[in-house]
């Protein structure tokens, strides 16, 4: 039985926490391109490389498109690969996100969430990663720098699990997390290394009729990234979807195993309820906003309002059952989106929550708030819970 290990408390920004976690994760290839507010990640990591603190091959590519491509290619060659980006950089990767998940390359990527142009804006919102919702990547959103650190380490375990073999994005809110210094408890190098383990490869049938590890290996030639016609394409996609479903239990398992060595867990790994039991009104949000919201919930509780919060940590795969059972007894739910779905019926998180609750025996009222676009402050969050569910319809705050 593993037990909680002694940890070192460091003062790290979210970006630095990412770089430090990557340093400890025995990553073989980091390929990346700078963009605010992610840049500190690659800068810190470059320092580790320059000072000989890691054995990683660092590829400073000429674009994010090539950064992700290089990670994907490294990954299928058998390496553990990492990249980081934000906003325009993630948008530029769009094409390759699908190729990465389709090739079942367990690349891990940090996203310092930032608004999309135009107008140009470097501050935090979720438009960048929400636009990649259907790219076949697992999406985790962290609440603070500690969780950023923990999630990056967990992400390698989740991605590389042979029942998953899917890429993972870890979202950290631009500036709010990426640039804010916090206390972060860090595990010893050896513990992290052991927790993640070495890369595993499922054995697959090659065209030579041999069973061989799923990677590019001159001893066992394999054709990767082929063309598949309608007879087979759908089979590939179906398998990807099954892997996503498998990820639900793997994320939970990794969350609880990690708790054993670190003493930290994030709900069940998928959702984190806060004062939700017997709550009458609840908010749903992602990322750092949950920190603010927990304070709001405490204040409301002190005033006798039965308020609660559900933080959605894993947006993809969507933990449908967990969400439904956590929210079905609440009278009203306020869903907070830091992203606009232009011309749609509310933001992307709202779509999911409302959809999940449609099948509940008694459906709560569900309202949507679009907030904090382009980094607009969200201190007035309390009113999301106070407003009567019927009178608010997603107006900008």
């Amino acid at each position: 039985m593993k037990s909680v290990v002694k940890q070192e408390r460091m003062a790290l920004s979210g970006d630095e926490a990412v770089a430090y976690a990557v340093k400890q994760s025995d990553v073989d290839v980091v390929a990346a391109y700078p963009i605010t507010p992610q840049t500190i990640i690659v800068e810190r990591f470059s320092e580790y490389v320059a000072n000989g603190e890691v054995q990683t091959e660092f590829v400073c590519t000429e674009s994010e498109h090539s950064a992700l491509t290089a990670c994907l290619a490294a990954s299928v060659t058998g390496a553990r690969a990492f990249t980081a980006t934000a906003s325009a950089g993630l948008a530029l990767m769009h094409e390759m996100l699908f190729v990465t998940s389709g090739c079942r390359a367990p690349v891990v990527m940090a996203i310092a969430n930032r608004a999309l142009s135009a107008p140009l804006n470097i501050h935090g919102d979720h438009s960048d990663s929400m636009a990649q919702r259907d790219s076949g990547w697992i999406q985790l959103y962290a609440e603070n720098a500690q969780e950023v650190y923990d999630s990056i380490i967990q992400a390698f375990r989740i991605a590389e699990d042979i029942n998953v073999l899917l890429p993972v994005m870890v979202g950290l809110d631009g500036f709010t997390l990426s640039h804010t210094l916090e206390n972060v408890d860090t595990l010893p190098d050896e513990v992290v290394k052991q927790f993640i383990g070495s890369r595993k490869f499922p054995n697959v049938l090659t065209h030579e009729g041999k069973m061989a590890p799923f990677k590019l290996d001159p001893d066992n030639p394999m054709t990767m990234g082929p063309i598949a016609l309608p007879n087979y394409y759908f089979e590939f996609k179906r398998q990807q979807e099954e892997a996503m479903k498998n990820a639900l239990s793997i994320i939970k398992q990794v969350n609880s195993e990690y708790a054993k060595i670190s003493g930290r867990s994030y709900g069940n790994g998928l959702i984190e309820p806060y004062c939700l039991e017997e709550a009458e009104v609840a908010a749903v949000c992602l990322g750092s906003t949950a920190g603010t919201m927990k304070t709001v919930v405490d204040e409301l509780r002190a005033k006798g309002v039965k308020a609660g919060l559900l933080r959605l940590r894993t947006f993809r795969p969507l933990p449908v059952e967990d969400l439904r059972s956590a929210l079905c007894n609440v009278k009203a739910v306020a869903v907070m989106d830091k992203c606009m779905s232009f011309g749609g019926n509310g933001g992307p998180v709202y779509h999911e929550i409302r959809h999940v609750l449609y099948d509940a025996d008694v459906r709560p009222y569900v309202v949507n708030y679009i907030y904090g676009l382009g980094g607009r402050d969200s201190t007035g969050t309390a009113k999301y819970l106070r407003g009567s569910p019927a009178d608010s319809s997603g107006k900008a705050c």
């Binding site: 000429e62 491509t69 290619a73 490294a74 065209h207 001159p218 030639p221 082929p226 063309i227």
Partner: protein
Amino acid sequence: MEMAKQEWKFTTKDIAEKPDLFLSGHRACAGCVPTTVLRLIMKALRGPTIVTQATGCMEVVSSIYPYTSWAVPWLHTAFETAAANASGIEAALKALKRKGRLKHEHVDVIAIAGDGGTYDIGFQALSGAVERGHDFLFVLYDNEAYMNTGIQRSGGTPKGAATTTSPAGTAIPGKLEYKKPIADIMVAHEIPYVATASPYYWRDLLEKVRKGLEVEGPAFLHVLAPCPRGWRSDQAKSIEYSRLAVETCVFPLWEAVNGQYQLSVASKLIALAPQKKRPVTDYLQGQGRFRHLFSPQNKHLLEDFQRITDERWRRLLAKCGVSAKP
């Protein structure tokens, strides 16, 4: 760097005996030279090799799941990514070797792309990868248009050629722009090895592949690869066109070792005996994509084709230190 004297020899017997690593059964058109080029390249390997390829005809005809023509590990990711794939593969091999996790002493990396995946959409990734100095060989099989999507013009399409996006119309007679001098642009990247090749001169091609693999750092090989479908030419004459392109100096054969240009034998013979240089019309005739150039009102275009060919040939001779003879 010393590039002379290779111990290897590619004799006809060697080549015939060496097992194919690019296998038959692919779906290319009859008379497709790009597939011939792939087969030849795979005969020149020196050891464990990973091949990566851009989207295009050669990828599509060779990897229709669950079939494959590749007897080596092979990766395709997208159209513009051949060089980025190679960067990632090479970086992975380096890291795994450093950590003692690579089974092989060395693994060669070859990236293959068509003209679209090289001159145009893949150029940024290529330029970046060679600037970073990754150790890989990039092979451009140049069939001078986007064939996979139905013969659209590329930066490698010669001036005057009719394609489906530069048709020979009544107002505009085919492509208006000259072929981009891609191999010279690669030399300008100051990489250790750049060469041109044509499969009619197959031994020259094999030797250049091998040199490109042996050199440390990036190498670039530009192979002209006639496509009867897109060139509207006789399927039986594809290899003949790959010879005529050289004999007319439309596509001279040379290599630049550490930036030092030198003519390869076939082109050197023409430089030494200029009377052997054939007129471009010998090459253009019979190719449907140039048919309109032979109508009287387009005489000036034909002359311009000869002019740019001569001018580029003169410049090449100067770079090779050969004085141009009339």
